[in-house]
Each structure stands twice: as C-alpha cells, then as structure tokens.
Symmetry: C3
Subunit: 668 residues, 3 copies
C-alpha cells in the first residue's frame, strides 16, 4: 500500500522542481499526479504546444524513482478556445451561459468540444506513449463538480432528442412509458421534447428522470472519448477518473465500465459540513464522519469490484467548506489508514504545496506556500512509512448494499418530504452495518449476488419483474434480504406501478403497503419491536403482511398505532425483511443484526460512534475518528503491525486478526 501526491510544477519556478522531487522521495511518496488543469500552459495558442516543461517535470520526478499519473487537461478549456467557440459553454436551465472564469465551463455534448478534446488528448498521449515513468492517466477532473453534469444548452437539447430516439421504439412508446396524457403533455416527435427548462409548476417526473439519465450518459460518452484515445496509444498505462464523495448526478457504475482504475477525492472535514444532514460535532470538524467517508470508499471499491485509489486526500485545512478548522492531530495519517482499510491501494494527498494563485489559496498542501513542511506532511510521512510494510489483497465483503443512481434521481425528483434524501436514508443502514464491524460492498442491484450472505437494499424504488427475479434467486439460494421503504413503487420509467408497493417485490417480501406518509424531522415517531420502543422518523408506511409473514415492528404513533411497520417473510431459502419506516440507529441496528445473525456473518459488538474496524486480507484496521482514546481487546497472539492496543484520539492501528475477534471501547 502506498502514498502519493498531486503536484503542479507549473505554479513554481523550475529551479525548485529538483528539491521538490527529492523531498517527495524522502517522504516515501510513490506516485505523483501531474498536468491537471494545464491546457493553457500546454497549448497557449491554438495548435502551439509547449510540452517541454512537462517533459522536464516528468524527467525530474523519474530521476528520483517517482511514478507519474498524467491528467487530460479538459476540465479547464482555455480562454482562447471559449472566445473562438462560445457555443462550448454550458447553460443554466434558463439559458444563462456558464461563463469562463472558474472551471468545468464546457458542455459534454458540444461537438466542437469533443473535437478539441480529441485533439489535445491525442497530442498528450502521443507525446508520452513511450515514457516509462508515466504509469497511468486521470481523465479530466471530477466530472460534474459544481453541478455541471446537467447542462441545458442547445447542443444538449439536440443530444437529448437523439438519446430519446435511441431509448424508445418511437414517440408513442415514450408517451406510453412516461404517461404524457397527464396534463396534456403528449409529444409528437422526439424533437419536440425539450430539456426541463423553467416552468410554472414542477416537471413531469419521467421527463426529469430521463434527462438525468441522459445527462449522466453524456458524461459517460465523453469520458469514453478520452479512454479510447489513451488505450489506443499505450496498453500498459491505466485509465482512471477521480470521482467525488456523496455525489448524486453521475452514475459511477456506468463511467467505471470504461476505466481500469476507479479513484475518488476524499475531504472528510468538508463533507461533514456541506453534504450531510445535521451540524457536525467538534470531532467531526476535526476528522469527519468515518461512515460518510467509508460509504464512498465502499462505493468506489464496489464499482469495479477492485482496489481503488484515493486520488485526492485532504492534506489539512481546505478552502471550500463553510468553516475550516484544523484537522485533529494525526488525522491526515488516520485517513490514509482508513482508506487502505477500505480497500485503497494508493492514497495521494492533494496537493504538494499550498498554491499562491487563484481560487484555492486557502487550501493547504503537504508543504506550506514557503516550501516548509505543513502538518499534513508529517502525517503523510508516517503513513507512507507504516503502509510500506503492509501488503493486502482485495477486501472480501460478506454483505452487499444495493445502490442504483436511477433510484436516487427518481426519489430526488419527488422526495415527498424535504428531509427524504436517498443517500442519507441508505447511510442509515450502512452505518448500522459498519457499527458491527462488517465489510460492505456498495453495488448495483444487477450485480451477481451469489457470493454474498446478506443483502441490504435501502430503497429499490424503480422496479420491474427482472429485478424482482434477481432478488428472488438470491433469497431462494439462502440469502438474507433486507428491503427498505419506498421500494418497488415505480416502473423504470417513473410511473407508479398499478399494483401496490412494493410492486414487483410484494410477493417475495410477503407484504403490501396500504398507506405511506411523511412528517417533519422533528415529529417524534416510534415503532415497537420485541426489544421495546424504537425511534423512527420522516417516513412511515402502513403494512399489510401476507398470511405467512411475521410482523417485526408495529407503529405506536397515533393514527398508525397497531399497524405493522416492519415485517419478515420466510422463504424456502433465506428470509426477507421489509422495513416501511426510516429507522433510527437502534432499530437499524436491531434489523441489521438480525439479518447478519441469520446469514451467519460474524460481527463485533456494537462499536462506539466514530470508531470503526475494517478487515482486509487477514488484517484489521482500527480507526479512531474521535478525540477520545480507545482500547482494543484483541486475541492474545494477535500481532499489532501498526500501533498498539491503546489508541490516542485520531489514531489508527493495524492488527493481524479478524475484525469480529476484536472489541473496542473508549478508554476510561
């Protein structure tokens, strides 16, 4: 397992590069990512290329044994290109262009921009096809950042019509599948269907869902333009992309089909502030939420069922969240361990040195702007040294958590409660699994499930018979399934199923949803299980179990009191739990523990909040995201490869033992 760094030599005098390379090598760094956002430096005028600086930078790094990952520079089209072809700019729904002056201002569907992309990527690929130090590529950067997956320009309007033409038999098929009789929304032709522009009332949900699919597919296609050129030039280097955390609008499963390596960019103390419900605690401001970060690790590991990289790892304080406390002492080391524990093979800190120019001056690097080492540098050196001795194969998870971007998009279009966030809801189940020390793959519902002992499906919202058959096969083979609220409600085209929810899953789950309701998050709702009263919130379904289906929890809140809220249906193989509420942490633990127990998955005792254990290839990482010390009880013969059984705040340890053989408690 290894460490790397993102480096922008073009921001610093060439005289400095040699010393930078030396210091990187001393620090134990193996990989250096280069050339991101460098288009205007590589091609200052159209057709005039200046590669010498990059040649020299690569050579300098290679001289010190460092391996280079290059980026295609397309996330930032230069001003000369925008001036010549303003039609490459994205547009807001109301037609306002997204102008030059920051980044990601190009449209994925612009024919001109695809041509220019081919040109610049080809030039770079040709240049470095024989350069041994270059081991791989990152396509572009963070596709879709700053809400740019969805564009509403004229090129997109035309491309959307084409996409619809390829998706539907004919326009009558579209009218039928969407259901356009409602509010006279019938279309005569594919050309007549516009992007969802400003309208007096809300948009048709089937229209919205298809525009979201189309937009994601546009990025997939655009990424493929890069991948094909790069592969064509050199089979040895890998093609990667750096995805983002808790990111809704782009289907990473689909993009990953064109990638050799999936990577993502991890900024734990930013994520707790800007993409999670609830105010962060002080510990979370210092180190983030391990389950929020971990869920992304497991998503991107699951995407291609392979080790992933953290292409950008938070190196200290960052510029973009609302507030920027310093990370806890050791947090930058902790994050590298935690990522490795989840299956990362390399963790690259972003960036080598704090930049003096432009939008990210308030973003730390491993070195300060004066070149001296910053707090993250010391942590990175420690992590590099500790991980150099660790060699671990791919994570082997007994549990799958099913996730489908289409479901996210459909629920986001009609949340039916401002608090109903698809990803937050899924995270409730993920948290419960991780609090029991269990490894989890986040995978697409169509994944082969035969190797999993248990499957948790928080919300399989869009459903058809094929998806139901796939799950039935898993359960009949003995698998244990937990199916969450709002499953089986809609057709794949976002129409309501005529049969009651969970629609195609109803027979398998042995239950029907009589009613659904939503509440403000501050309304106290509860259900009762054998173990007592359990808090739930926001979403409530009134269940009607089939005859053979057992009631696991019953509503106790006024109008619904006495109505089943969670059920379990036995089958000849495993059983199916259906949970018609958004469970609180205790109910989620109870349901998940039952599923794991029946599935024969070994677990830990319930872990303290903020403390997690991860098993990978016989090694177990203990990660302490809190400022309190914790103590690990391990088997007597277990060898601590990193750290020891007493962990400080924000500390990590690695022990040769199964996760379920450990127990962890806060030190007294």
């Amino acid at each position: 397992m290894t460490i790397g760094v993102c480096y922008f030599p073009e921001h610093w005098p060439r005289e400095r590069w040699e010393r930078d390379a030396e210091q990187m090598a001393e620090a134990g760094i193996e990989y250096v990512r280069l050339a991101e956002f460098s288009w205007a430096v590589l091609e200052p005028e159209r057709g005039v290329y200046e590669f010498d600086w990059l040649d020299e930078a690569i050579a300098t790094l290679a001289d010190h044994g460092l391996k280079v990952v290059l980026c295609t520079p397309t996330a930032t089209p230069p001003k000369w290109l925008v001036d010549r072809h303003p039609e490459i700019l994205q547009a807001d729904p109301d037609g306002t262009p997204r102008h030059f002056g920051s980044r990601r201002h190009y449209c994925f569907n612009s024919p001109v921009y695809r041509r220019e992309t081919r040109r610049v990527v080809s030039e770079m690929a040709d240049r470095y096809a024989d350069e041994d130090a270059v081991v791989g590529w990152q396509t572009d950067n963070e596709f879709g950042c700053h809400r740019t997956v969805r564009c509403y320009c004229d090129d997109c309007a035309a491309a959307f019509s084409d996409w619809l033409r390829e998706t539907y038999d004919d326009v009558d098929d579209l009218n039928e599948k969407w259901g356009t009789t409602f509010w006279s929304q019938r279309y005569d032709s594919f050309e007549a269907v516009d992007p969802p522009r400003p309208t007096p009332a809300e948009h048709h949900p089937s229209h919205l869902l298809d525009y979201r699919r189309f937009s994601s597919d546009s990025v997939v296609d655009y990424n493929r333009v890069h991948a094909e050129i790069l592969r064509d030039r050199d089979d040895d280097w890998f093609v990667a992309h750096n995805f983002m955390g808790d990111f809704e609008t782009l289907d990473a499963h689909a993009v990953a089909d064109d990638l050799d390596l999936v990577t993502w960019d991890s900024y734990p103390t930013g994520f707790v502030q800007d993409r999670r419900a609830g105010a962060p605690s002080m510990d979370e401001l210092r180190a983030g939420d391990p389950d929020q970060v971990g869920m992304n690790h497991d998503l991107y590991r699951g995407t291609n069922d392979a080790p992933f990289w953290v292409m950008e790892q938070q190196p200290g304080d960052v510029n973009w969240p609302p507030h920027c406390p310093q990370p806890g002492e050791g947090a930058m080391r902790l994050w590298a361990h935690h990522a490795t524990a989840h299956g990362a093979d390399a963790v690259l800190y972003f960036r080598w040195r704090r930049c003096r120019q432009g939008q990210e001056q308030y973003h730390a690097g491993l070195r300060k702007q004066d070149g001296s080492p910053d707090r993250g540098y010391r942590d990175a050196v420690a992590a590099a040294s500790e991980l150099a001795d660790v060699d671990a194969a791919h994570v082997d998870a007994p549990v799958a958590l099913l996730h489908d971007y289409d479901d996210w998009w459909a629920i986001d279009a009609q949340p039916h409660a401002p608090e109903f966030d698809y990803w937050e809801h899924a995270r409730t189940y993920y948290r419960a699994l991780r609090a029991r020390g269990v490894q989890v793959d986040l995978v697409h519902p169509e994944t082969d499930l035969s190797d999993y002992a248990a499957v948790v499906a928080p919300s399989l919202h869009l459903a058809d018979d094929e998806r139901a058959a796939h799950l039935r096969e898993f359960v009949e083979d003995g698998g244990e399934l937990l199916l969450g609220a709002r499953s089986g409600v809609k057709t794949p085209s976002n129409q309501l199923h005529e049969e009651l929810a969970p629609g195609p899953f109803a027979d398998l789950a042995g239950v029907r949803v009589d009613q659904h309701e939503s509440y403000p998050a501050d309304v106290d709702l509860a259900v009762e299980t054998d173990a007592g009263s359990r808090a739930v919130s926001v979403w409530s379904e009134w269940l009607v179990p089939d005859e053979d289906t057992e009631t696991v929890a019953t509503h106790t809140t006024d109008l619904a009191a006495g109505t089943p809220a969670v059920t379990r249906a036995p089958t000849d193989g495993g059983s199916v739990v259906y949970c018609g509420v958004w469970p609180g942490a205790d109910l989620a633990d109870e349901l998940v523990s039952g599923v794991l127990s029946r599935a024969g998955v070994a677990t830990t005792d319930r872990l303290p909040d903020g403390v997690r254990v991860n098993e990978r290839d016989g090694l177990t990482w203990v990660s302490n995201f809190t400022s309190d010390p914790v103590a690990v009880d391990a088997p007597d013969d277990a060898d601590f490869r990193v750290g020891e059984s007493s962990l400080d705040g924000f500390d990590a340890a690695v022990v040769e033992a199964a996760a379920s053989d450990l127990s962890v408690r806060r030190s007294p």
Copy 2:
C-alpha cells in the same frame, strides 16, 4: 346536499370505465367532473379532434344516472401549439419564458392564445350543447395557480398600456394620480409605462398596484371569453370556475360576475403547511385549520351571495405540501360536512383514482391506483349517505367581513413589516367571529350592507369619500362597525392621503392616527382594556380620539405607554370601533364580542380551538377538527340529524337548533 368526484377516464383503459361508473353510483355520487387538462387528447394535432372517447365516457356515466361537469381544457396548451406559437408562453419579470412541461404556461393576454381558446372551447361547446348529462362547465382550472396571474411578456406590456389608456383620462392624469414626480418617474405616454421589471430598488407602489389590477383584470377578460361561448351555445348549463384557497392575486369578486356558480378547491392539510404563518400542530396536519378553510368557504359563498361548490375536495394524502401525513380518521367526511355547513351545495372529491402518471402520483384518490377503495372512499360514502337527507337553503349571515383585493395588493406592496400579511390580519378577526359561532359573509366593501347587523373591516387601506359614505350610511342606520389598523391610509391610486389616517374614515371613526410603528413578531406588545392586559403584535398605531370618542384600549409598551390603541365613537346610529393594533386572540374576542353584543347578534360561548359550529337554514353543524372528543349541549328537543351529542376526534354532527343555543366543550 350532494357529493361528486373528479374523474380522468383518459388515464385508464376503456374497459374499466363501466366499473368505475357503477362504483360511483353505488357510492352515492351525483356529479362527475371530466375533461380537465384534456386538450392534447381531444385535439392531438391542430384541427384534428377526437371526441369519441369523451362521448363514450359521458354516455357511460349518464347510463348510471351521473351528471357531468365538463372543463374547458385550456390550462394545458399542447406542445404542438407551443411549438407553433411560442409567443403564447408567459414570461417572468426578467423575460425568462415559462416553458412547456407542467401547466398554466400560457399568457392571458396573448391574442393568439385567445383565438385558440375560442376555437377549442367552441368545438367542445358545440359538441355537447345537446347532451343532457352535461349540466355545467368549469372554465379552465385554478386561474393563477403557480403564480401565473402576473405575466411580464410583450403581449402583456402592450395590454398594460391599453389598460392604462382606458383607466386614466390621459397620461397627465396617470402622472397625477400615481404621483410620478417622486424620483423623476414621470411618463410621456401610456406606451412608455412598462410592466414592473427588475429594477435596482423597489417599484413605485402605484405602478405595482395598477399592474396587479391589470393582471387580475386580464384573467377576468380571459374567463369571459369562455363564459360567453358556453352561454351562447346552451342557456341551461351553468358556468363555473374553481378558485383556490387563501389566494391573493386574482380578484374573485370580479371573475364571479361572469359565473353562474362559484366553486373552489379545498385542501385543508396542505393549506396549514404552505399558506399560513406558524407551524401546524399535529391535529392541523391531520385535518387542517377550520378557520383557514372556513374563511375561503365564506369568501366564495359571499362572492355571488349564493351557495357554492367545493369543486375539488382533498381525498387523503396529497403531493404538494412539504409533508404528507395521512389525514385523521374521518377527516374526509368531516370536510364535506364542514363545507356544506358553510354553504356548499356539492362537494366533489379530487380524484376518483390515484393517477399512475406524471406530477401527481403522490396524490391520493378515492380509489387506489390498483382500483381498490382508499381511506377517502369510505369517508365519501359516509358523507354522501348522510348529506343525501339534508336539504338546506342559503346561509344567512348577520355579520359581514369586508375584503378588497386592492387592499391586499397595496399592503403586500408595502407591508412595512415582513410579518404584516393582509390575509393573516383579516383572519385574526374572522377567527374571533367564528369562535363565537357566528356566520360571516366575506364581501366586497361596496356590497349593500343594509341587511347586516355588524360589519368588521380589518383593513380598508385604500379609501375615498364614496367608500366612507357607504360605511357612514351603514352606521347611521344603526349598524355596528369595527374598523381595523391601516384603514383609510391611501387613495385608490396608492398615494398617501394628505389628511392623517384613517383619512376619509377619520370623522366617522372619531379618531386620528398620530404615529404608526411595526415590530418583529417576537417583540411582546400589550394594551390594557377594562378587562386587563391584552397581547398585541407587529403593528401599533398611536391614536388621538376626538372629543366624543371613548378609549377602549391603551398601549402599555414603553414609548407608546398611555396612548390610546383602540377607540369607540358613538353615532346617532351604531358605533364605530377603531382598532389600531394587530390584536391577539383575546383582544380580538373582546372587541368582536362587544360589537356583536351591541349589534344584537346571538353568539355561543367561546368555542374550543379547532371546534366550530355553523348554522344553515335551521340546522347547525358541529365540526371537530381536533383528535379529542367533544360534547355538545343542545336544547332537549333538538334533533340530531347526523351523529350525536358526543363527537369523536375529526367527527361531525348536524343538529336541528340555532348555533347560539348550543355549547360545545372538550370531553373530560
């Protein structure tokens, strides 16, 4: 009194229609509304009409004895029409078009759209002029929903100039009446006056008020296009429109002049969430606020001084409020009774069956999407059965509450406190009246007042001598008048009167406003009456009573302490109370009770919150909008026509007795 339903046969296979009609007839349904939003189905291409499906739907319903109300389908112009004439689209103030993709995307002033409207309405009217089952029409649907009364397109700009030309003698007259010397806002011609587009600072209030009048008048004119064609074809059918609740931008008094029947759409649990200050209680999430709903009933009953219909009645959970709890057990029955009690002759539930397509999939129907009965169906059947035996004439109210849309628009343009909402302020007085079991007509200030014993005018903001003379006549005839804060401040053109407020009403009310102030809602303000200290909020006027005017309440808050806050002026006839504050519930009760007592209007004891009684033609309805049971004390010989003297939560009863002979209390 009777029950109906809104039905969209075009969303379901024809094979189902016969069964639907049967089930409607069994349920006791009398009226079925059809063809709303059906333009694209009726005319799939321009000039190609397909009426056969509607013929068959009508025939099927008629065969089961059901009566049909048809809708002109203009709320949803089809895509082919928008593509051919994009100029029919509305525009936002900044010029952004309001595109196709939802509904209500047409401009009321578009000459093209008026021509197309005439065409499609004529075709429909011709088709069904001789069809006996069709008893009436709804024009369009919910004029102005989704903030569409006010459009800012080029057609509207031209129409506004024309409207001004008809309203003012010449442009000098406009300059004089508006007062355009201020900030050099003088106009040379009517053409020079634009719609109120984005400006650096706020708009001229006279400009704003006239644009609001013009916009409302544009809808009035557009509705008349429908009404004239429909009446021309068949004198027997009625012409109706379905208005909305707590709706500011359209003058229902003016639209109603062209209607035979006024109807509105009542969604109690949505209204408490999205158009009322303050978070709803759990009971209100279950059944709504009876005074919020009742005030709309009384407005639309008062509009043409005739029984009204609820054209759409909430049938269960709905899709558009932030949260969607299930209504209380029996709430759908309660609402039908409550509406009837307020003067409705028919209550149509929206909709027959939950729709599988488009924007309203989360909106319940009386039947679920699989055709099985939903919660509302059982309530509707009960209501139909109970109301079938009830026959009641028009409500006879002893009190008028004066309401003028122009006042609403003027105060909304210059609220002088974010919390000062004209309608909320008026509702304070309405609530006090309803809490005393008194029937109230909401009427325009120019209405003949001679039959009322008392008049409450919460805020007659715009005033002239004619309006003052009208009130003086009422008072001199012995009427009791309560005049609220901010009355008589402005001319009808929204200039400040040169004389101090209440301007033209000052002599009648025997008082002058020395100062006015506003405060955040959380600042505690109080006044003192003979009965003690009384909370008030947000708005405070310092009054100077005339010599013969009595002080009813005095400010007790620091700076204003000792200054009169409420006064009463005797006349040779009745007396005039002027209330210069926004009263809390207790002060409102005290003032209103005094007025009613002097006017000789019989009242109940103050009713519990959420429990109301309504008298109509010798019958009194008791409506319990709370989850607690209540007990009714009625005269010994009073016959309970529906229910009994003990009411469950969300229950209703009908008793043969005067409202003032009842008393209602929460059961112990």
Copy 3:
C-alpha cells in the same frame, strides 16, 4: 454648528412654499437641500428645460435667509432618456438589465450617460452660478445604493479592459500578478478579460478584486465629471457627495479627492437592522448603535481630515428596514448632538415633510403629510437651538484606525467563514476604543501617521514592502501599533505571499502565522491572558513568536491549546501587538487599553454599553443611546453647555471638559 433639512418643493403646491420657508426659518434651520431626483421636472422633454419652479423655490428660501444646497439630478434619469438610450441601463452579472422604475438605473461607464450628465449638470450650473443663496452642491445621490456600484453591461466590459490596460504593463504582467496559471485562466489580451459573469465555480480572487477596484474607480471618474463642471462655473460653492453607512463597494477615500466637503446619510435604527450582525435590542431599535453610527462619522471625517456634514439625518420612522418602531423620545435630537460631537458641522434632516407619492410614503419627515409638526420636528428645533451656541473646531484624534477598501473587497471575496465580515471585525476594535472615550480617525493606511500616538490596524490584508515600511516608520518613531488577524496575507494583486503571514509585516511584528482556522460563531473559543480567560470567536491563528517577542495571550481551545494567540514585539521605538484571533469585547478592551496606556493616551473608565463620550475642541458630548438614565461625574468647575450631569434615556449633554476627566454610570 448648525441644522438643515432636505426639501422637495416640487412635491407640493407652490402656495405652500412660503409657509414652509417661514417654518424652516423659525425652526432654526440654516441649510436646505433641493433638486435631488428632479431631472424629469427640470427637463420634461429632451432639451426643454423648466427652471422657473426651482428659481422660485430658491428665491422663496433665500427670502427667509436660508442657504441652498443643490443636487445634480442624475440619480434618476427620466424615462424619455431611457427609452431613447436603453444602453444606459445597468446590467446584472447574467445580463439582465436593471430597468427604469425606481432609481440608480444608469451605468457609470455609459458614454451616452456621461454625455447627458455633462449636459444637464452644465445647464444647472450655468443657471445658478450667480445665485448667492446657492452655497454648494451635492453630486448625484448615494452613489452605489441598491448594489449599483458594480455593473456588468457591455460598456463596463469595454471599460474594464481599458482599466486593465492602464493598470498593467501588458497582459503578461496581468497574468503574472493575478496568477492565471491556476485552472488555465491565462489571458491573451486585455479584451479577453470579461466582467465576472456567472460561472460554474467561484471566480478568481484577483479578477474579482480588480473588478471591484475598477467598479469603484468608475464611480470616482463619474463623480469627477460633475465636480469639474461645477467648479468651472463657480469657485465659491462647495462640491459634496452624500455617502452611505457601513458601505463596502465604493472607495470613499478616492471619491473624496474630488470633493470639498464629505457628507453622509445617517439612519441609526435602520442600520442596526439591516447592516449589522446580531438582532438589535429594543434600545437599538429606538436609537441605533452609537458605535455603528460613530464609525461612519469617523470614517467620513477622516476621509478628508476635515469636518463633515450629515446630509441626511433620520427624522423619525423610516420605510426601508424590516421593522419600523418609533425612535425613542429625543432620539432625533440625540443624533444631531452625537454627529456634531464626532465632527459634523451641519446636520440636515431628511426630509421636511412626509411625501405622499411613490416609494417613500412610509418615511417620516419633520412635518407630517398634512403639514403638521411630527416628532422629529420638535427634536430638530431643540437641536438647532442648542447647537447654535456651540462653536467647535475640528476633532483632534490621538488614535488612527486603518481601513482600506481593497482589504474589505479581498476578504469579502474569500471570507473563509460566512461570519468573517471585514467591517464587523474592524468594528470590534473601534468599539473597544470608543468604550474608553478615545477619539479615533478612520484613515487609509497610506495616511501620514506621524501625529498619532497609537494605530490600530484590524486587518491589513493586502500588503507590500512599502506599506510595511510606512508602519515601521511609525513604530520606530515611538508609535504603538496593534495589528489584527489576517494582516499581510496577500499581495496587492490578491495572491498569497510566499512568506508566511503577516508577510511583509512579519519582521516588524516579530511573529509568523503557523496555521489559521475558522469556526462557526457558536463554537466557544478562548485564550488566556495575564488577566484570565477571554472569549474569542470565528477566526484563530497559531502564532510562532520571534525570540524577542512576548506572548500576550495563549489559545486554550483543544487542538491549539498552548499556542500563542496574541503577541507583542518591542522595537527601539514603540511596540507592535499582533492579535491572531477575532477578540471578544473583553480581550479587545484589554489589548486596546494596553496600547493606549503605552502610547500615553488618556482614557475614561470603560463606558456602559450604549453610552459614549466624545471630545471636540475642549467640549465633551455625552450621548446616551439607552432608555436608562445615566449620571456624569465631571470636574467641579466644568460647565454644562447643554443639559446637565443627569441624563434621561436618549438624552445628550455638552460639558466643557476633557473626555478623560469624565466618568459616566447608569443611574441607580
């Protein structure tokens, strides 16, 4: 010292003018401002001038001994001009024009508008060049009000390119100074640089800063157009402009270079509501915050180091804040005294009479709309009478507080915490100084500092060696310097300095910033000084003192605990305190008191909140902005020129004594 009023005779019948002038003279008014916003009345059609009404108004006033200040009427271009030249309108960043219908709708860079400005100003100046009653001019009105300093129209785009061309050697110089290598933001030409229009992500901070400079400079240039014409016609009259309070976007220092007299518009109870963090107390709703108001007085006095005027003084309740309580009894008199105490030579109430037309009908005048005296009138008469006897020279302040608009703009572009407001942060120090009764000049950092004993520089964010040398000279001459957080971070072009903060000031301050962090305002942070624990908030720097530098305060909050937070470096002259936190009131007092003490500046005991003393030319004003009475302890022989030693709520007194010889306490 004297009193004046703003008057709009054109809003009232000519018959009234004579009486108005009489009443003004009786009230003790000396100055009357006229003709603001009067363009459409002066020139109703292009080239057709109507000056007779203004001639008559001036003559009427002059007959009563009143002096006239005229306004150029350019804040409100008439509709005929907009219709003829719509290109004069400003534009929002997305291109939406800022239309006619309010005020300030013209672009400062429009060549057409500059031509029209020259024309109308010349006509007016010619007309009144020989009119003795006209003593001076106000250019336009409140440049930049309603967020209009920054325009994004095509004329501005072209002017911005020109501005850049004049500012930088060539485009490579711009690329270098901005640092456009970041995110490929390199420009080929000055023409290629656009205004900061809507972009996917945030703008480049150097681009933003220069656009803010350019925008401010555009106003400076536009003001000069007025000033040159007016001076050319008559050397005797003064040229003034009326600035606004707490106003960020326009560099008053720069505009003032072209003015003879600096004035501003003071609305205390509005300011506490709409331009200050924290909800106002009831006392503040009644009289405002004396330090918020005072800081503007001291800014505009410091701008040209000369007495200033309050050109518009709040006369009572006003229309534009969220809420509009009546000012406290006497507050309008208090404000006139308080302004005079801070160095005003004249205070003009806005306006004479409440206006019946347009946007400001809810804005009080000294007289009500019916012509009768309003509350402010009585206060104004008292102030006029009391101030008539007071004659005081310019305020002589021993302390300078350094303020640079460029710093404000740079920090606003990258606040790094939503709560970090440059002006609020500076006000913390200002408040501490004023709470010790010390006079403060707010001056630009390049001001000659040699006459000051102490300098407080809350945040000298942008810095170069020249600025550092200027401060070094002050300190080495014996001056005491307090340098606050975020100083010396950036180059003048808004790049990060390569050396650690405080960059060019580091050697002088004897300290380096190791880390900086930000926190939500509700996170409790603290430091420890010799005096105990002291609350701080939002911003925290970890300091590394040089060997000879003393630690004054140490962080006590977890991660930073033990790290220096405030330091003091001795020099051969004075010493330099560096404060790396946003201090709470107690720490600010402790630091400021230390500086004043070392600098030998006499102070009062710490004054009660809301009570302030100001010394001017041997007289000391006591201003009580609270509703509680206060008692003044003065030397036995001190003469109370106005009031006495016991002050009521909202009262003022003037005593012949040094401020530091007084002590003030709330009466028991």
